[in-house]
């Protein structure tokens, strides 16, 4: 009762307080600069997560390798990228051209060049942002995926091996699909977190959602309404992600005993909205 009363009071004050300027909020929700920023944020998040997950799988498998050198390499990577602030990594990749203006792949000591990249033109702020966020995310995803892999009973691997399945096939067909039940929830967390962390790239002048809002309010001084615009878009995106996560989790719950009921799950099961997201039965 008290909570409901407080909620009503807060919402009421927000609606009635003229300084929130809801008209301005509505106007800027679909402003082209904001929408372009939103697309950049979504691209940054998607690309960084793809890099992070792919890298995470490789690092996790490396860490579980019986070869100490391979396992050690993965450990050092995780230690380095998890142990330094992601903002520092963003600045580092942004300035990589100052350290390595050109990148040539060839024989050392003046041998012929096999490949040649010019970092000064290649590393745009956007690429630097994706690199920094993706490589950083890889270190976190590695630990999440490793936890998933070791959660699968050893007997599953043994049974697959006894049937003549190779190590790679066993990993792909037997262990990973079952590890997904443990991997998906924290990965959803990471994606949502990435959506917001990606706003750090405004430090290297990538015009993402937050930076787009800042550009507008530095001109119009409508700070609060524009921060609300950005926040509303972030909220909409995280809501869509949560719904997507529910379906991914349900897919990997195949054969598992007892699914937990969540408020979101109950609602989604009642109001089949899958067609809207392109899911098919």
């Amino acid at each position: 009762m008290i909570v409901a009363f407080l909620a009503v009071a807060v919402i009421g004050s927000m609606v009635e307080n003229k300084r929130f300027e809801w008209g301005v909020v509505r106007h800027y929700m679909t402003d082209p600069t904001i929408l372009r920023g939103l697309v950049t944020t979504l691209e940054l998040t998607a690309l960084s997560m793809v890099i992070g997950i792919a890298l995470g799988v490789v690092l996790a498998v490396m860490r579980l390798s019986p070869n100490p050198l391979v396992a050690g390499l993965a450990w050092v990577y995780i230690w380095l990228f998890r142990g330094t602030p992601v903002l520092v990594q963003i600045f580092f990749w942004f300035n990589i051209a100052a350290v390595y203006p050109r990148f040539g792949l060839g024989l050392p000591f003046g041998g012929p060049q096999v490949a040649h990249l010019n970092f000064t033109t290649l590393i745009t702020p956007f690429i630097a942002g994706v690199l920094a966020l993706g490589l950083n995310e890889g270190a976190y995803m590695a630990e999440i995926i490793r936890a998933g892999l070791i959660s699968v009973d050893e007997g599953q691997t043994e049974a697959a091996h006894a049937l003549g399945m190779s190590r790679l096939l066993t990993m792909r067909r037997i262990v990973l699909p079952q590890a997904m039940r443990v991997i998906v929830p924290p990965t959803g967390n990471e994606t949502i977190s990435m959506l917001k962390t990606s706003s750090l790239v405004s430090a290297i002048a990538v015009v993402d959602l937050l930076y787009a809002a800042q550009i507008i309010y530095s001109r119009t001084y409508e700070v609060i309404p524009l921060l609300i615009v950005a926040s509303l878009w972030y909220l909409i995106c995280t809501t869509v992600l949560s719904i997507g996560q529910y379906y991914v989790e349900r897919h990997y719950a195949r054969g598992a005993r007892g699914q937990q009921a969540t408020m979101l799950g109950v609602w989604l099961n009642m109001t089949d909205i899958r067609p809207f997201f392109g899911f098919r039965r």
């Binding site: 007997g155 697959a160 091996h161 049937l163 003549g164 399945m165 054969g255």
Partner: protein, 253 residues
């Protein structure tokens, strides 16, 4: 005739603990060998060495005339690459104490997985023979059921069908009924008995003295990493010659 399994002075240690202290035995094609013995005697370790789930430290182990998991160059053994070991394992079926069915697959999917992915059998062919196998172990109505919804006995019968789907020359059973409720033991033993009758070569680690006596051709009694006594099950299990066998049987029966 080449023996199906031939072990020659097989040694295995886990760290400093020596579990197998020189096992020498032979299983002829079509024979059912039952290995009995107290827990910790090394019988499970030995059966796992047969398909190279455990590496052996010394000795030689052949299945159907081929070394398992190793290649011999001169006097030395070199471990084979993963792919070669996997190929050899397709000839050897294994049934585990805790079933180890793939939890994310239905009974039918469990049975067709290896034939399709490893042997490259066409899907409709694999599904056809998988259904036949599941019918044979009495699970015609459970094709689409997940392991978590099956009883222990049903799970173990799916596991047997899964191993048979690869058309193995040899079947290994590692205490197949030890994790089952007493009333479910019979249904699994029945399936194993039928297999023995149609001439499958089997090595069975078990505590089921009755099964060993009726279905077994050879009984092996192991204790403390060595074979104590080998022979006709009706002899070894009814009139054991060794004190240790006698002591074990008096506790089990």
């Amino acid at each position: 005739m080449t023996p199906m399994v031939k072990a020659e002075a097989v040694h295995k240690s886990f760290g400093r603990l020596e579990v197998l202290k020189g096992i020498t035995l032979e299983v002829q094609p079509g024979q059912v060998m039952c290995i009995l013995g107290p827990s910790g005697s090394g019988k499970t370790t030995f059966i796992r060495c047969i398909n190279h789930l455990e590496k052996i430290n010394a000795g030689r182990l052949w299945v159907d005339g081929e070394l398992v998991g190793y290649r011999q160059v001169g006097d030395k053994l070199h471990e084979l690459p993963d792919r070669e070991v996997a190929r050899k394992r397709t000839e050897i079926g294994m049934v585990f104490q805790r079933f180890n069915l793939f939890g994310h697959m239905t009974a039918l999917e469990n049975v067709v997985e290896a034939p399709i992915r490893v042997k490259r059998v066409r899907k409709d062919v694999a599904v056809g023979s998988a259904k036949e196998l599941l019918n044979r172990v009495g699970l015609a109505d459970k094709y689409d059921t997940y392991p978590s919804q099956l009883s222990g006995g049903q799970q173990q019968r799916v596991a047997i069908a899964r191993a048979l789907a690869m058309n193995p020359k040899l079947m290994l059973f590692d205490e197949p009924t030890s994790a089952l409720d007493p009333e479910l033991v019979g249904e699994v033993l029945d399936v194993m008995r039928t297999l023995a009758e149609i001439g499958m070569t089997m090595v069975v680690v078990t505590h089921e003295i009755g099964f060993a006596r009726e279905a077994g051709d050879v009984a092996v009694f192991m204790d403390d990493g060595v074979v104590v006594e080998t022979g006709d099950p009706r002899e070894v299990l009814v009139n054991p010659r060794h004190e240790r066998t006698k002591a074990f049987l008096s506790k089990v029966l």
